[in-house]
């Protein structure tokens, strides 16, 4: 019990600053951290800090939350590409212009009504469906939905069959066609596997409660993208959806997407 409390204290106090410090700390932390993890969940007092901050690093994600994003199309401007640039920088994508083979996790889609010539531009990425067709068709379960609703590719078991790309209604997935260099530590990806928007899962797990695209959009002053917990009725995203409504792309497919749009 004592160990558990010590561990919880360490986690609480864990500074996010220097790598040396972090390693120093892991050295001090007791052996078998994962065994302690199961004890943590039931230990009294620990719940306190769970509400105080994000999910502790040694705890699995749960379906108590469902992460989602809300895009307010009316606040999105046609010439702004900040979300796309931020995504490329965050994940080390940098697709070459005009390339049909480079990965694009997020893209600005222009939708024009041919009967009225009215057009709108807004970002489209993986829609993080509740019932994702990519997960249904994946033969090796490499395409999967995390407990918290984020749809990911487990690149350790992806065999590169590309059936998920055939199944996705949103054209959200890309196949890595060539040997990559300079991948970033938080976004490992490589030749022969499929990848797509991971809702900045490393940021979410670190408790940052945002994504690169949402952050960039806010920095640019548009605030068109809201990230949040769809399960929490008091979250900004849930309130906005409740008050102003929202639509899903291809709602007719009944996939219950985690990314919603306002003003389409």
């Amino acid at each position: 019990m004592n160990k558990v409390v010590t561990k919880a204290y360490q986690l609480l106090r864990q500074p996010k600053a220097k790598v040396e410090q972090e390693i120093d700390q892991s050295k001090r932390s007791f052996v078998g951290g994962l065994v302690g993890a199961s004890g943590l969940a039931i230990a009294p007092g620990v719940m306190l800090y769970e509400t105080a901050s994000a999910k502790p690093a040694d705890q699995p994600v749960t379906n108590a939350v469902r992460w989602g994003m809300l895009v307010n199309v009316n606040q999105c401007t046609e010439d702004c590409n900040a979300c796309v640039t931020a995504c490329n920088d965050e994940h080390g994508l940098w697709p070459e212009e005009g390339s049909t083979t480079d990965s694009q996790w997020i893209r600005k889609l222009t939708v024009k009504d041919p009967t009225t010539n009215h057009s709108k531009s807004f970002p489209v990425m993986c829609q993080h469906c509740e019932h994702p067709p990519c997960v249904d068709v994946c033969p090796t379960r490499a395409s999967f939905k995390r407990e918290d609703g984020i749809v990911l590719v487990n690149m350790h078991t992806c065999i590169g069959c590309r059936y998920c790309m055939m199944a996705c209604p949103y054209k959200a997935r890309s196949f890595v066609h060539e040997v990559l260099e300079n991948q970033l530590p938080s976004t490992p990806r490589g030749k022969g596997c499929v990848d797509s928007c991971n809702m900045c899962v490393h940021k979410v797990d670190a408790g940052e409660n945002t994504t690169a695209c949402a952050e960039a959009c806010a920095t640019d002053g548009h605030q068109a993208i809201v990230f949040g917990d769809l399960n929490d009725p008091e979250s900004e995203i849930s309130k906005s959806l409740r008050d102003f409504g929202g639509t899903q792309i291809r709602a007719d497919l009944g996939l219950n997407t985690g990314v919603r749009y306002q003003g389409i």
Binding site: I23, K55, W94, S99, L152, V179
Partner: protein, 168 residues
């Protein structure tokens, strides 16, 4: 079952023996691997030499599927600590089997891993710096075949395929 256990024991013993002989050239002064940042590994080094792949394998599923991101056994952390710049300030790549911590041993033990086809083989700061340098040089950070947009659309053309293959 007995057969399986025996194989396991044999396997462990042979690995241990191999690593015992292996550690000699690494520890010796001849090693070109720059020293790690800290002075103590997260586990006992002897244990780590024999078992690190089990730890990494376990952690990988925990992280990807369950979102558990403890730093102790994370590959990212191994790299942050073990991959340090050499005297010239350069970071070794996994493809450089003499200077890269992981590669030096794997090459010696003839172990082929594919971790670094996707995972970063250097700390993030080193990669960001390399990218900045590339941008300063005017080369695109994108590392694929350097083709113009027009070429890429036509790249499936038989001719360009043949020529790209020949140029390699």
């Amino acid at each position: 079952m007995i057969g399986v256990t025996r194989i396991n024991v044999l396997w462990n013993v042979s690995i241990a023996l191999l690593l015992f002989f292996l550690s000699a050239p690494l520890i010796a002064d001849g090693s070109k691997v720059p020293p790690p940042k800290g002075d103590q590994c997260v586990e006992d080094p002897e244990w780590m030499r024999v078992k690190h792949f089990e730890t990494v394998l376990h952690q990988r599923d925990e992280t990807v599927i369950r979102g558990i991101r403890t730093e102790k056994h994370s590959l990212k952390n191994c790299i942050e600590c073990h991959i340090t710049p050499n005297a010239n300030g350069d970071y070794a790549r996994y493809s450089n089997s003499e200077e890269h911590f992981c590669a030096s041993c794997h090459t010696y033990a003839a172990v082929a891993i594919d971790c670094f086809q996707c995972h970063a083989d250097r700390p993030e700061s080193a990669i960001r710096e390399a990218l900045k340098r590339q941008q300063a040089d005017g080369t695109d950070p994108h590392q694929g075949l350097q083709m113009s947009a027009n070429d890429l659309i036509l790249k499936s053309n038989l001719q360009s395929n043949l020529s790209s293959a020949q140029s390699k």
